[in-house]
């Protein structure tokens, strides 16, 4: 079994433009999808992220924190998933019902392991 992180990027403001009825549909569909994956064990955790924060950078001589640089694309949440292969998990992500109600981008990255040791 391999583990994966999926980063959910929000683009623009399309959620705010949805009507309350459409927003409810979104919550019910995506909520059901996440809960289903949790129950089947395919998902270890999933959380939304605040759109603000800080960036910490530097080296041993100087570590500074600066306001988090807001860009057009921003990570709004993550999924921590489990699967046999990238392809299998990619198919799970493609079934995320959030794609039904607007443009989304989800970046899927395997958690790095060294073969035979981890």
């Amino acid at each position: 079994m391999k583990e994966f992180m999926a980063f959910i990027y929000t683009e623009g403001d399309h959620m705010a433009e949805m009507s309350p009825e459409e927003q409810q549909l979104h919550v019910e569909r995506v909520g059901g999808y996440i809960q289903g994956l949790m129950q089947s064990g395919k998902m270890k955790s999933a959380q939304p992220l605040e759109l603000t924060g800080i960036t910490i950078s530097g080296n041993k001589d100087s570590i500074t924190d600066a306001p988090f640089n807001e860009t057009k694309e921003i990570i709004g949440g993550y999924y921590h998933l489990v699967g046999e292969s990238l392809e299998e998990v990619a198919d799970i992500i493609k079934a995320d019902p959030r794609f039904l109600d607007g443009p989304w981008k989800i970046e899927l990255r395997p958690i790095r392991v060294v073969d035979g040791i981890n």
Binding site: M15, A16, M18, S19, P20, E21, E22, Q23, Q24, H26, V27, E28, V30, G31, I34, Q35, M38, K44, S45, A46, Q47, P48, G76, G77, H80
Partner: protein, 422 residues
Amino acid sequence: MTGTPQESKALAEHFFRQEYAKMVSVITRYFGLDKVNMAEDIVQDTLAEAISHWEFNGIPQNPEAWLYTVAKNKALNLLKRDQYLLQYKNQVETMDQSSVDTIFSDERIADDQLRMMFACCHPAISQESQVSLMLKTLCGLGIGEIASAFLTSNETINKRLVRARKTLKSEEVSFELPDSTRLEERLDTVLKTIFLLFNEGYSASKGDRLIKYELCLEAIRLTELIVNHRDFAEFSAPSALLSLMLLNASRFEARVDQEGNFVRMVHQDRSLWNQALISRGLRHMQKINAAQEIGLYHILATISAYHSTAKTYASTDWPAILNMYDALASFDKSPLVQLNRAIALARVRGPEEAIGTLLDLEKEIPASYHLFHSTLADLYVETGEFSEAIIRLEKALQYVKVDSEVEIIRKRIAACEEQLKS
């Protein structure tokens, strides 16, 4: 990095929409009607927050309380901002000290929604803007949904909303119910706008049928708010309108066929009539039967009730319906009333007499009113005057625009021609 979503409960149908509408009205009480869009922004933000939390962590045990707490905090934060603190000092104090339970108590919500209803129907706002504003703030419909119900663009609806909000501001409309001297007059306007909203949904014109049905249900819900409110207990018109809409809405499914064409009452499959709505409608009839004054809605509701309780078209109590149309015609001279009266007249005293009445009316009715010609054609078919019927159908054909209706009239012409040959 582990987390299991809480046991998620399901949301009630239209939960977001209804809560949106309730919160907008309640929060507007604190900001005033000139900042109704600020209240809308707060509520929009609250829902956005609910979305991101609920989709990841499941729906909370008490979603309503969750929303109200977040909305209260957001409203307070805004009220406390420097530029508003002086202006809204009293509001900050009352809101700060009140618990979510008191701010959002059922009674308070109903009160504020009624205030909002009267504000939306302020006489200085045009009727089409009144309807759009009600759908947005009191029913929680999105601009796109309102646009598709009215077969117009988002831009048009947006313009109407902007204009309506400007008027609320420039007229300095207060967020209070009108005083007793103007209450009845203002109530008339409110009922008229609600009835218009209902008829937009009820009309057989093309458009998203689901949303159109929602318009009917919303009109019913808004009228129920009035009927159930203590300040309006003495008025019977709201109950009459409520009855009328419930009884009419019961035929929603039956009056349009699979292709979306209007099905006349005579051809409707009565098993499709919604009996639950009919019995609700009849229950409210009891209140209006005791009414002192009889108005438009009382008469229309009574007519609708005669239809709803008839087993078949033929066994309908047509003499009673004709009486009602006579009463209606005494103060409503519109061609539609005359036309419907003629249909009842034909059932009571025969199609010949109804034809005579309609021909007498012809010069008063605009030639483009195609229903006049097609009703007349029906009556000619009954008397066997098929060539007259064809003349009328061809006239109707000149004014019908919708393709499917053109098709139906062509079929009726063909059927008449068939009869002439045999």
